[in-house]
């Protein structure tokens, strides 16, 4: 994939950091404000996609980033299942909030118990997954040949 003009590259470099930050914010505050793991994860992925569109890449790095993102995606999935299982094992029910303090307090980040870690897991999974989809669709032909 070829890169784009320096103007785009500079702006993209500026924006990507912000996007990433904003994405992380939305992931973290999913239980307090609109948004959550999926919406934030999409933003995180958008940051990566923006970078790779702007700067381009060679097949070698694409392959690496594809492998990496699919591994991270799986890890996110595993993490999420583990969190859900934590409720199953520690309390009683699958998906039960294993570390809750009462019913939670509005606008307090860590009062949601397991919701925050779950959102983070989803954010990781969605971010990495979307980026992998992007690579698979747009970037190269190698993915299916693996």
């Amino acid at each position: 994939m070829r890169g784009m003009s320096p103007v785009v590259q500079v702006i993209a470099r500026l924006l990507a950091g912000l996007l990433f930050l904003f994405g992380t914010y939305i992931v973290m505050h999913g239980h307090l404000t609109p948004g959550g793991g999926f919406a934030g994860g999409v933003l995180v992925a958008a940051a990566f996609i923006l970078m790779s569109l702007a700067f381009g890449s060679v097949e070698h790095t694409e392959r690496n980033s594809y492998t990496l993102s699919s591994v991270v995606e799986s890890l996110g999935g595993v993490l999420f299942v583990c969190l859900a299982l934590a409720g199953y094992v520690a309390v009683a029910y699958f998906f039960q909030n294993a570390a809750t303090y009462g019913t939670g307090t509005p606008l307090k980040l860590i009062s949601g118990g397991m919701i925050l870690p779950a959102n983070i897991a989803i954010g990781i999974k969605v971010g990495a997954g979307l980026f992998a989809v992007f690579l698979a669709l747009g970037a190269s032909r190698f993915v299916m040949k693996d």
Binding site: S70, V71, S74, V81, Y93, N97
Partner: protein, 501 residues
């Protein structure tokens, strides 16, 4: 069985679907191991669950996240669920076992297993869920994974079939989603038990029937009822054989038949007494499926395509069994779900074995394989006899019960048709046996060798189960299929079991 085991049917394959890619990065063959271990665990669990329901008759209710039914998602495990889950996981295990050597032809082994696990997640999830939207989500998980697996070979046919399957299948998904939206607008809840209580007080207005019709469109597409069937004869033959076995064996029945009957009987409370029109419609389209599927199967020259059309025809039998709507009809339909899952799974595995050995599934190019591949040949023959309804195999009893049901409901023509098309079934299935396995022509396929031991074990496993289900039909009918039919027949009584009233 403790209710805590219920979510395991979803958790285990889901977790393994994420784990398989991770471990496969480290060691390629670990995918085989994990997948088969998971398949075995699931099969064991489903057998254990079914056996534990043998003794009691209670419904196991599991509240996801500990939420009350009207708020959270509940999982329910009753006899009907147990039956479907049993079929799914047994066929799944055999298909996975078969896949170990079958996948030698393909690259991307771990992708196959991960997707396969996701299909299992979807099928098990649809079976155990007690929530409408959850049903949709699991349907889509299974469906999307199956689209990908149909196109797994990424050659001309596979891609075409995959795309067509996806387009038609997604129309079905959209119809289900629309129906759920309408249902939510009416009932303001999505828990099946609560919905059914709300619907009980809701008149048979056009809106009610619109919701029913939209659900029916969605499920009809998933189960490939004629005229919604066009995708199936493309998709099922194009998938790798283990996937074909799973798709034809259980996929269409869980996403289509099971989901439809659960929603129509237990959520909407339809029964022959209060909605004869709906049941006659099932019978009408069932007959259409039997006839069109059977005739089309007769005209095929492709091994797997013939089997795929046969699945359409057999779905028709299940539909008329449900449409008859009395105890024996439903028992027949549910027994046929089991019998057809085992039998058709077996036949698709033999197709895979033949394709593995000879590289073709064109019946004109195959002949006399019985000499080289006796296990495959005889598994095929006995499996096809089971499907056609020859005792002592399982298929006999399902057709028998369906005919009993039809005759007790005074539907003579239906019984005659069912018996007549059993002969057509016999005809087209034996056609394959004759052409591929038993004909002695000069053109013997070269280099055909009996399938590797693992594949033979998978086929024989299904064959033995078919015979066991036929000979030992008594406990299965008494303890599992009969109570499952009662679950459907009790209609809205389902809600009481879930809500614990």
């Amino acid at each position: 069985m403790d209710a805590r085991f219920v979510p395991l049917f979803v958790i285990i394959p889901l977790a393994s679907a994420f784990l398989i890619p991770l471990f496969a990065k480290l060691w390629q063959r670990s995918a085989d191991l994990i997948a088969n271990a998971v398949g075995a665990v699931l099969a064991g669990l489903s057998v254990y669950g079914a056996l534990s329901l043998f003794t009691g008759s209670q419904v196991l209710v599991y509240r996801l996240g500990g939420w009350h039914p009207s708020l959270g998602i509940t999982l329910a495990y009753d006899h009907l669920t147990a039956l479907v889950v049993l079929a799914v996981n047994i066929v799944g295990l055999c298909a996975l076992l078969f896949a170990v050597r079958y996948l030698d032809h393909y690259t991307g082994r771990w992708k196959f297993y991960a997707l396969f696990m996701l299909i299992l997640v979807g099928l098990n999830g649809v079976s155990v869920t007690g929530d409408m939207f959850n049903l949709f989500v699991f349907t889509e998980i299974a469906a999307v994974s199956s689209y990908a697996l149909v196109a797994f070979g990424t050659d001309f046919d596979e891609l075409e079939a995959g795309f067509k399957y996806m387009v038609i299948g997604e129309i079905g998904g959209a119809a289900i989603l629309l129906a759920i939206a309408l249902l939510y607008a009416k009932a303001s809840t999505l828990n099946m038990a609560v919905v059914s209580q709300v619907m009980a007080g809701f008149g048979r207005t056009p809106l009610f029937w619109l919701i029913v019709a939209m659900f029916l469109v969605g499920f009809a597409i998933k189960m490939a009822m004629v005229p919604f069937h066009a995708w199936l004869p493309d998709a099922h033959p194009s998938a790798p054989a283990p996937v074909s076995a799973l798709l034809s064996g259980v996929f269409i029945k869980v996403l289509g038949v099971y989901a439809m009957s659960r929603v129509m009987f237990n959520v909407f409370g339809l029964s022959r007494a209060n909605a004869a029109g709906f049941f006659n419609l099932l019978i009408g389209f069932g007959v259409l499926s039997i006839v069109a599927g059977g005739l089309l199967a007769y005209a095929q020259k492709d091994y797997k395509r013939l089997l795929a059309y046969s699945s359409i025809s057999q779905i028709g039998y299940i539909l008329i069994g449900l449409g008859i709507g009395n105890y024996w009809g439903i028992v027949g339909a549910l027994f046929h779900i089991l019998a057809h899952a085992l039998g058709k799974g077996l036949l698709f595995l033999t197709a895979g074995s033949v394709e593995h050995a000879t590289g073709t599934r064109d019946l004109d190019r195959l002949s006399g394989l019985e000499k080289r591949m006796p296990a495959t040949a005889w598994s095929y023959l006995l499996g096809s006899l089971s499907l056609a309804g020859v005792p002592p195999f399982a298929g006999f009893f399902s057709k028998f019960f369906i005919i009993v049901g039809a005759l007790s409901a005074d539907m003579y023509w239906l019984a005659i048709l069912a018996a007549l098309f059993s002969t057509v079934t016999l005809g087209y299935l034996v056609k394959v046996a004759n052409r591929a396995f038993f004909a002695r022509r000069d053109r013997e396929p070269t280099a055909a060798r009996e399938a590797p031991a693992v594949m033979v074990v998978a086929m024989l496993g299904l064959l033995v189960l078919t015979i066991v289900l036929g000979v030992g039909f008594k406990p299965v009918v008494d303890r599992l299929v009969g109570p499952a039919a009662n679950v459907l027949l009790q209609g809205l009584g389902y809600a009481q079991g879930i809500l614990g009233m």
